[in-house]
Symmetry: C3
Subunit: 350 residues, 3 copies
């Protein structure tokens, strides 16, 4: 990777991403920081991104996401001195193996991809960092209520909440029948934390050696966030589902921020220990806040999350640091700009 | 109308609206674009709008909304070279016939008012445009759950959700007794779409020939959004109601935006076909997003909606286009400004 | 107090607050208005506020909040020409008696602290101002549903909703057993208003003699806002709790704003009558909006509330007045700046 970067023309760096998830925010931020932008986009979505052509200097059209790693695309990206910004849909689209071995500089910690892809390693990473996580139960040792997750499933598909061992077993059998999992061991049975969900958007800057809290959000999920508007005698016949379709802004009680920041710093520290050089740029901790104000983290994302799309003009937190409209997308571009200016670009690319 | 506009002094155009709904946003936007502003306001609310007198150059006080169309008000508006900005409460206050025949240039598609006033024509317009809508049932052909609406009723009054044919019939009888409707045929029985509500704020610019997505929101409704905070054993005795009292910001999952933009473009196209010159400026599609990410539109508004009041400083979407605080109210004024500068003002007025 | 202010160097005024609640917002706003900032902070939280050291010129570290009123801290604050900004956690941390007698100029109406600390005087203040409040019931005269509150309890602790006299009595007995109250008379039994919560952030400017509406929010409460995401057969076993952990942005239907503004003005008027010079700066009215659009206020706060933390970059309402990113924290600093410039600083300090 160092070799590729050494051959780059630092005056003509471009920022590239895939057309989905938080691409508009990333492109917008890159333009504000004066970069050339490149969008890799599926043919069927090209018309949509063309509505925002003022944000996009070059489009690389693919017929399927697998093409992203083709020699042709890689060559073109390198010829444009591109830095790739992976986002939350990146591994899903490209595939883990391909993502890991792409011969293009990425902004972010590539080594984290494999941990993220494995629900159990992920939880262990958090616990080892010193962050509180839900208890995990084996199927013979369930203390209800629990939430049962299927690590392979996309977007919360098939997740269910159960209040008894029988319901857990029934639900897992159903998931096997539906082909969501092959055998019961794949199911992750977690303590159901009673409280409210909250997601924290962090940005670790290697250039400034500073962890910034850039925002927080609540997810808006279909159909569960609609069911609560239905009379109980109707909603009881409908199974709740947890497909994220949007995000709602949130600020936290200030007395919770030290705990949140502490978790963020622990995450940074652990990533430096286990996966040097450690996390670079955006990551997200996904939590439940209990009524006793304890925060339990049930998931993380090692890159930009869709909740940051709320804050294209900056968040209540980013304004505390920057006093200009600083989205996470723009913050990424700013970090790259600062690294170029200081001659330390290779510090923030993997 | 062309005659009126021809007699206008284009250097002294003023922007006028009615004191309610999104008036503050419209006036604020007009001032930012350098226009003189005119507020038509009921006497009883004058004191309130006087709190914002820095946004208002002239007030025309009426004792009741019916006066809005009086010769006196019309003459004064024309003498101030006024363009009227109709908003979501406009037809409600002024009445459909009067609104259609007002002899003052309006920003927006006047011809759409009559379609909007008729729930069934409205749904047909959407369906014919190629936008997915809920199924409509006749009373003898109900597949529950359904939502029953009374087109004449204001703000969702009397709407109810039913899980059986008996409940539909009982509810309609109750509505007749309460005088909400006269006969059962007035009731609109729609498939109840299970999912989450989401409202999209569009702006079609004839000057730029561009459809902009300017924001999205969720409505905050009394009492339904409070009931869900009550224990079931108490809430079950209370009938949910759906009176909109506010709006909450929302961003959408980026992979939903192509579908949303497609619906917006279809709406523009259909309006151009059926009602040339077609939609001008703001409109809103009101939808449910199902757990399979399908979007079903159950309502539209052909003008500025109150949800845009969230984004006086711009929205996560408007910043993608404008990089300055661009509310829908300001966007209207900007469109008028651009049309004046290009000598094509009559293109955007009806 | 006048004496202290007379000895202050008006060219070197600093703004001081306690490290919690809305301190970051207050410090950020003070810096934007060119003030030196002082943070009084518990030793255990110093590391956290050091993450924001660009906002803080001086830190005064205490081992416990009681030290805030120590001679040492008071002397140091006065030597830095400090104006103290009390926030929602101020009395909770410092204690009512100490807060009232602190020998340091405060921005805000010190005389209101004692009324705020007494739930019954508080409700009487609102009612006497002409603001609608919930009915209060004696234990022998309950019309359910009711909400039962324990004035001494922090953050809604122990509050419960009851649908029968028996449940009220049982709940109060339980609270006595748990030591939340000593005798039944301490319990405040209020009519449970069915509707949706909404909180309004006001700012009364003595300098401009103007009441500004600076924002609105909804509280995000653990666990009640999570319970609604659980299937009824699970949530029914869990007692709802109402611990505020965050805030969500809200705009109001514009036709509700005259009522809200009227309440705000009534609050200002009453405070001037009862406690001259009357309210100074931020206050908050906390309400339920019923389905008939009537607004019932069940609580107020006489200083900056945490909900304003949403609007560090300004709110949809503050932009109507200021056209620059004007948080409540910055608005406080701006008021102090204007008062200094006009030589009327003593008008806004108590």
């Amino acid at each position: 990777m160092h070799e590729i970067i050494e051959n780059y023309d630092l005056d003509r760096i471009s920022i590239a991403t895939l057309g989905s998830h938080s691409a508009l925010q990333i492109l917008h931020g890159a333009k504000l920081e004066g970069f050339t932008t490149v969008l890799i986009v599926e043919r069927r979505r090209l018309w949509f991104y063309n509505q925002f052509r003022h944000l996009i200097d070059h489009t690389l059209v693919v017929d399927s996401w697998r093409e992203v790693v083709s020699k042709n695309i890689m060559n073109r990206l390198r010829s444009m001195n591109s830095i790739l910004i992976p986002h939350g849909s990146f591994v899903e689209y490209v595939g883990l193996d391909r993502a890991e071995s792409m011969e293009i500089p990425m902004f972010g910690l590539r080594g984290l991809l494999r941990i993220e892809a494995d629900q159990r390693r992920k939880m262990k990473f958090l616990a080892d960092a010193g962050i509180k996580i839900p208890k995990e139960y084996s199927i013979n040792n369930v203390v209800p209520p629990v939430i049962v997750k299927f690590p392979g499933a996309k977007g919360g598909k098939g997740y269910f909440i159960a209040n008894s061992i029988e319901d857990v077993k029934k639900g897992i059998e159903r998931a096997i029948k539906q082909g969501i999992i092959q055998n019961p061991d794949e199911a992750l049975i977690q303590e159901y934390i009673v409280g409210v969900p909250a997601y924290y958007h962090f940005f670790y800057s290697p250039v400034l050696d500073r962890l910034e809290l850039l925002g927080a959000d609540i997810r808006y999920e279909s159909n569960v966030d609609g069911l609560k508007r239905l009379p109980a005698e109707i909603s009881k016949y409908i199974n709740p589902s947890f497909v994220v379709v949007g995000n709602i802004p949130l600020v936290l009680r200030e007395s919770l921020l030290p705990k949140i920041m502490d978790y963020g710093l622990k995450f940074v520290r652990k990533s430096k220990e286990d996966l040097p050089p450690g996390i670079i740029g955006p990551f997200c901790l996904e939590s439940i806040i209990r009524e006793d104000c304890e925060i339990i983290v049930f998931e993380f994302s090692g890159r930009i999350v869709a909740g940051t799309n709320i804050y294209v003009m900056g968040s209540p937190y980013s304004w505390l640091y920057w006093d200009e409209p600083m989205s996470t997308g723009r913050r990424i571009a700013r970090e790259i700009r600062m690294a170029i200016d200081r001659g330390i670009l290779d510090l923030i690319l993997t």
